[in-house]
Amino acid sequence: MKKMYKITAPEGLHARPAALLVTAVTPFECDVALTYKEKSVNLKSIMGVMAQGVAPGGIVEISAEGPDAEKLFQTVTEVFISKGIGEEC
């Protein structure tokens, strides 16, 4: 499964937003990756996510494979919207 999101957090996907996202996906069983500018990292790795340096307005692709992938996307979308990090696109 794949979904695209636009990052709306004013500081980009750094620090707090990145931490929220990583915290949200870590409990899931499936593997999950975040792709930005053709580079993919493990979305469960805070340092990987921050090293991406996603700027505000940046478009990222999140892909997940595994039994609970669908539920994971629900959670991700929820976190994105409720914390003002980004929106589906």
Partner: protein, 571 residues
């Protein structure tokens, strides 16, 4: 037994074991391991211990300081749980590297990568990674790491210096005082010690080198003395002194509910300085007549973005409500100099104290200033608010700042907000130029508040943080006294009042002079309020006035001290 002398910055005596905060030796060798499984187990065990510690710290910090200040430890937990980092380290161990070396390699790789990204958040993450990898490394090497917020018995902290974030974590239940190698009377840690009302001695130069972990020490914050491993005679002598100090404090308590008057019946105001809304309680406990300086920097520091208008409004409102109609003077943002905000991206400067700071930033980055003013004016509806601007050098700066304030006032009013009416607007007198043309300012402002720490620093051109020139920090220097006289006279001629919110306002020698000069308000740390009220109650203002002319003709600090002691205090 060993004695160390430092600078006395916060009164009181305490006895406890030393708790040295120094970076432990975490050096290690690179070796090839033969049993990689065993090495992996060792690594896992160290990670487990570090993680457990971080979780504990996080929970303690959350309970003690709230989720906001604890967030840094949540970030540390994410770092230690990072699956990519763990995999990278494990694969290095599997290739025969020892755990210490593998950890250091991977952590350094991330640090290097993040340092290459030009973003302030990344710099903070670098600090997080360093902290976490040090913690794990410590466990690998079997070295106990110190945690200032995991204390469980009474200690006296010994450190090279205390950073603001470290001091924010101090718990006075266990921390009975602190000793630092560097710093002076006005350094942040010193001010903090007085706010927390714990004894402190700073500027000892080598305390961290001579005091061993866990040794018993006596900390005499009143005289700036530290005694390491005291003999039983010395210990009992100090215990007696301690009792006397407590008795003296209890005697002062009778002044709590008294108004502030000199012996000859002249009224003054004795107010307190605060840096956080919680500090108000200490001012009220000491029976302060008001808040003479509310520093607002706390709202802006230790975070990643500017505080919202609502957040500021609630903070100011809580203080104004607690003060129940007693005057509360709020100083607008005084950032810059030695206080930085990472998210404002202020450029590094050669002379930060002479650079882009305080009102200079407010007038340039007006969006920040206007939000603060709106929050203040709205909060003003809930108490007796006065506003002052820091670091005013020219009349133009004041007029511009005031115009912005009036604009925001008008704006809020037309939007139907409940706001403070007729707020007194004043300026800090910290820059000699403002002190010299106080007569011009006096026609425009409602009041002056003399900030002596900066005024002295600027008048004598001596960096107050630089130990090599600390002898130039002279509150009784005739130039300083004459400037203060000029300011007070100019204000009184226009029917305005003058306060002082620097350290000098609580100085035993300075007080009779200031009283004689006609200072209206003395504002200080909560812990000095009662002492000052008791001191002033024994002084005659008339008597002091008679001596002012003579004092202003004295040529050195020592002469002033001696004169005041002989003619004004003992009489």
């Amino acid at each position: 037994m060993l004695e160390i002398q430092g600078i006395a910055v916060s009164d009181g005596i305490s006895f406890a074991k030393a708790y040295c905060l120094k970076d432990p030796d975490l050096s290690f060798e690179k070796v090839t391991v033969l049993d990689v499984q065993e090495e992996l187990e060792r690594f896992k065990a160290a990670m487990g211990k570090a993680k457990k510690e971080l979780q504990e710290i996080y929970e303690i910090a959350q309970g003690k300081f709230g989720a906001d200040k604890a967030a840094i430890f949540a970030a540390h937990l994410l770092v230690i749980e990072d699956p990519e980092m763990i995999v990278a380290i494990k694969s290095k161990i599997l290739a025969g590297e020892n755990a210490e070396y593998a950890l250091d390699e991977v952590a350094s790789m991330y640090i290097e990568m993040f340092e290459g990204i030009d973003n302030i958040y990344m710099q903070e993450r670098v600090a997080d990674i360093r902290d976490v990898s040090k913690r794990v490394l410590g466990h690998l090497l079997g070295i106990e790491m110190v945690d200032i917020n995991r204390l469980s018995s009474e200690v006296i902290i010994v450190a090279e210096d205390l950073t603001p974030s470290m001091t924010a974590m101090l718990d006075t239940k266990y921390v009975k005082g602190f000793i630092t190698d560097i710093g002076g009377k006005t350094s942040h840690s010193a001010i903090l010690a007085r706010t927390l009302e714990i004894p402190a001695v700073v500027g000892t130069k080598n305390a961290t080198q001579v005091i061993q972990q866990e040794t018993l020490i006596i900390l005499d914050g009143t005289n700036g003395k530290i005694i390491v491993n005291p003999t039983s005679e010395v210990l009992s002598f100090y215990k007696q002194l301690h009792t006397q100090h407590i008795t003296a404090c209890e005697e002062l308590l009778q002044y709590r509910s008294l108004a502030s008057f000199s012996a000859d019946g002249c009224a003054v105001e004795i107010a307190g300085n605060i840096g956080k809304p919680e500090d108000v309680d200490m001012i009220l406990n000491a029976g302060g007549d008001g808040v003479g300086l509310f520093r607002t920097e706390f709202l802006y520091m230790g975070r990643q973005e500017l505080p919202s208008e609502e957040e500021q409004f609630l903070a100011y409102k809580s203080v104004l409500e607690k003060m129940q109609g007693k005057p509360t003077i709020v100083r607008t943002l005084d950032i810059g100099g030695d206080k930085h905000l990472s998210y404002l991206k202020l450029p590094a400067e050669m002379n930060p104290f002479l650079g882009y700071r305080a009102i200079r930033i407010s007038l340039t980055q007006q969006d920040i200033f206007r939000v603060q003013l709106r929050a203040l004016l709205r909060a003003g509806a809930y108490g007796h608010l006065k506003i002052m601007f820091p670091m005013i050098a020219t009349l133009d700066e004041f007029l511009r700042a005031k115009a912005i304030l009036l604009e925001e006032q008008q704006h809020l009013k037309s939007n139907g907000y409940l706001i403070a009416e007729n707020v007194e607007i004043g300026i800090m007198i910290e820059i000699p130029s403002a002190a010299i043309i106080a007569d011009i300012f006096a026609k425009e402002v409602d009041f002056f508040s003399i900030g002596t720490n900066d005024l002295i620093q600027y008048t004598l051109a001596a960096d107050r943080m630089n130990e090599n020139v600390s002898y130039l920090y002279q509150p009784y220097h005739p130039a300083v006294l004459r400037l203060i006289k000029n300011v007070i006279d100019a204000a009184h001629q226009q029917g305005k009042w003058v306060g002082m919110c620097g350290e000098m306002a609580a100085d035993e020698i300075a007080i009779p002079i200031l009283l004689g000069l006609g200072l209206n308000e003395f504002s200080m740390s909560a812990s000095s309020i009662l002492k000052t009220r008791a001191h002033i109650a024994k002084l005659s203002k008339q008597q002091s006035m008679l001596h002012i002319e003579r004092i202003l003709l004295l040529s050195t600090t020592d002469e002033v001290k001696e004169y005041v002691q002989r003619h004004l205090i003992s009489s």
